[in-house]
């Protein structure tokens, strides 16, 4: 079996990306859901690199028979992924904004925001 350079590079990039994603999850900078999505995405890339014939099955399953269709469907998939990712980032930013508003309000009322609570939020 001849191995192309793409079949070496793509799985390596996938492994690095997966290690990076799960490292972020371990440090509570990514949710479990995000890490699982990244795993699905990069595992698919690696799998297709190893077994290109999978694309033949995809063609049969999806009806995508020419390259233009394939590009369009891929672009829609990537855009969908980006929108979902941005929603999650937006949610995280709003959470931070609320925490800031709360801390300011409690401090102004003379009720200090507990440090322990911040720690719990990082863990949660």
């Amino acid at each position: 079996m001849d191995i192309t350079s793409y079949q070496i590079v793509a799985p390596l990039v996938s492994v690095v990306s997966l290690v990076y994603a799960w490292n972020l999850w371990y440090r509570q900078k990514k949710t479990l859901w995000e890490a699982a999505l990244w795993t699905l995405f990069w595992a698919s890339i690696a799998l297709i690199a190893f077994y290109p014939d999978i694309l033949t099955y995809l063609t049969a399953a999806t009806g995508i028979k020419d390259q233009v269709n394939a590009i369009l469907v891929t672009c829609i998939g990537i855009l969908f992924f980006m929108v979902f990712y941005m929603i999650m980032r937006l949610e995280e930013m709003e959470q931070r904004q609320v925490r800031l508003i709360r801390a300011m309000a409690l401090r102004e009322a003379g009720l200090s925001h507990e440090d322990g609570e911040r720690g719990k939020e990082r863990v949660g």
């Binding site: 929603i87 949610e91 959470q95 609320v98 508003i101 709360r102 409690l106 102004e108 200090s112 507990e114």
Partner: protein
């Protein structure tokens, strides 16, 4: 046991004073979270004897409730009662809501505005559209939390010592009611439901949740289910 009432309020200057005044008879301290109101809500609440915590920006009912919970913890509360600022709830129901916690039967108590008599009639005059919204809210909440509560979207609640120390709400809007139920299931808190009186006026109906807010709330609940 120190009991603190938490009242999240947004533009309720004409009503919040009366709620604070009535609630003070049943609790040790009243905390009003002025959620970035543009009227004199904070001034009215303070004049009625509440400790006012003011959000510099409007952050939502859920965020304001969690701020009130944080404030109550800082004040050394053992039990908290959350109650709406628009006079929809009757503070005279507070003792009945506290009872299951005082007796050690429950960690969190939910008010039930939709209770019925033995004849099947509700004791409260509630518009049909409100009943429909509540039923939809109950179903969505059950799907998201796995726990059936008869009035899942009511803001009138009691948190006992165990629930008070463990509750950590992350939602900002009205979906916090569903989050409380999910927290109850996750932490295995014992729950109780107590029938309460509710007063719907033109004012409360105008200020209450619309269909659009209900849809937004449902979507937020589903989104948070994914992000958990």
């Amino acid at each position: 046991m120190k009991i603190v009432a938490v009242i999240p309020a947004y533009n309720e200057a004409s009503r919040v004073g009366a709620v604070v005044h009535a609630a003070r008879q049943y609790v040790d301290r009243v905390v009003v979270v002025d959620d970035g109101s543009i009227d004199a809500t904070g001034v009215a609440a303070a004049a009625a004897g509440a400790l006012v915590v003011r959000h510099p920006e409007n952050a939502g009912a859920g965020a304001a409730t969690m701020t009130g919970i944080e404030a109550a913890r800082a004040l050394g509360a053992d039990i908290i009662v959350t109650i709406d600022a628009d006079e929809q709830h009757d503070p005279r129901d507070i003792p009945a809501l506290l009872q299951p916690v005082r007796e050690g039967r429950a960690d969190v108590v939910f008010a039930n505005r939709f209770w019925s008599t033995s004849l099947g009639r509700s004791r409260n005059r509630i518009p049909a559209i409100r009943r429909l919204f509540n039923t939809i809210g109950n179903v969505v909440t059950f799907l998201a939390a796995g726990l059936w509560v008869r009035d899942s979207q009511c803001g009138f609640k009691v948190f006992g010592p165990k629930a008070l120390s463990g509750v950590h709400l992350q939602t900002r809007g009205f979906e916090f009611c569903t989050e409380v139920i999910r927290e109850a299931r996750r932490h295995h808190w014992r729950i109780a439901e107590v029938p309460v009186k509710v007063v719907y006026s033109a004012y409360t109906l105008a200020k209450g949740q619309s269909f659009a807010i209900g849809v937004k709330t449902a979507l937020q609940i589903l989104l948070r289910s994914f992000l958990r």
